[in-house]
């Protein structure tokens, strides 16, 4: 598998990462997430075993813009809350998600592994996050991709309110045609239901949703 193909698969994995919902929630909590954006379609499910560990499954499908060939990746994910700082008015987290799975493309199936580190800081009015993700598939091939988000809430939402966030997401994926992609988006959530709607600088609609139960 060539470098470019590796990079494409890696890109799929990176962009398909969680829509900033935390990969570890409360004990015995299950989260289902579905994403539709410039990179394709993702669905994942995670179950939190302990305050620090969650397990899940991840699937992603994409049609490559250039080659018009379909790619997909599938695999279990193991999520770890490495460290959390709870403050009076905010929270900071560092997470790791790692997986060993398979990548499919051009009629072939290959083994794949990926890992990511996500750091976030949020208050009731400010949100920031940064993620870096690395991928290994089939042969020795390493790639690094990055994603950052900043956002603010125009009002402090109460427990019974619909929360609104205005955010900007910046992706840096050197292997893609559009290396830097900026996506302004609106996040709405009510209790454990979350929806994100955005439009990227390379003219793709983003529509993500999460549901936790």
């Amino acid at each position: 598998m060539g470098y470019k193909k590796h990079s494409i698969i890696f890109t799929l994995l990176f962009i398909g990462s969680a829509a900033d919902a935390k990969p570890v929630s409360y004990v015995d909590g299950t989260m289902v997430m579905q994403e539709n954006d410039e990179t394709g379609h993702t669905i994942s499910m995670d179950y939190t075993l302990t305050p620090h560990y969650a397990v899940g499954w991840y699937d992603k499908w994409e049609e490559n813009e250039k080659s018009r060939k379909d790619f997909s990746v599938h695999g279990p994910e193991f999520n770890t809350l490495i460290r959390r700082w709870n403050m009076a008015d905010g929270q900071t987290n560092i997470f790791n998600s790692s997986s060993i799975g398979v990548a499919e493309g051009s009629g072939k199936t290959r083994s794949a592994a990926w890992t990511s580190f996500l750091a976030d800081y949020e208050t009731r009015r400010i949100f920031t996050s940064y993620e870096v993700r690395g991928m290994f598939a089939d042969t020795i091939d390493k790639s690094i991709l990055q994603r950052a988000r900043v956002g603010f809430a125009p009002y402090k939402a109460g427990y019974e309110d619909v929360a609104t966030w205005l955010m900007i997401q910046v992706d840096d994926h050197p292997s893609k045609t559009d290396i830097f992609v900026v996506t302004p988006l609106v996040r709405l959530f009510y209790k454990t239901a979350l929806v994100e709607i955005g439009y990227s600088s390379n003219n793709h609609i983003m529509l993500n949703w999460d549901l936790q139960f």
Partner: protein
């Protein structure tokens, strides 16, 4: 006789209600309803819990226990920690 019976039943009911306690925990890290729902769901699994309310503005979790039932401080702290938060104070009232 009937009035005495009704009065006695009312007194027993009032007395039982009086055993229900209100516990308030002050919590750090409480920033959104998405996360706070985890607290609600965690505590609702506890047989002793009658009602729970999360106050994001004041960072308070208020727990009402069922009559003649209780949750000790260690259990409350553990449940909140499992939900991802840090407890800074617990107060009780009857």
């Amino acid at each position: 006789m009937k009035k005495i019976f009704i009065f006695s039943a009312m007194m027993i009911a009032i007395s039982s209600t009086a055993y229900a306690g209100t516990i308030t925990a002050t919590v750090n890290g409480l920033v959104c309803a998405f996360c706070a729902t985890g607290i609600e769901k965690t505590f609702k699994k506890q047989p002793a819990v009658e009602h729970i309310k999360v106050d994001l503005e004041n960072k308070l979790v208020t727990i009402n226990t069922k009559p003649r039932q209780n949750l000790d401080d260690n259990t409350i702290t553990q449940l909140l920690t499992d939900a991802g938060y840090s407890v800074t104070a617990i107060t009780r009232e009857k």
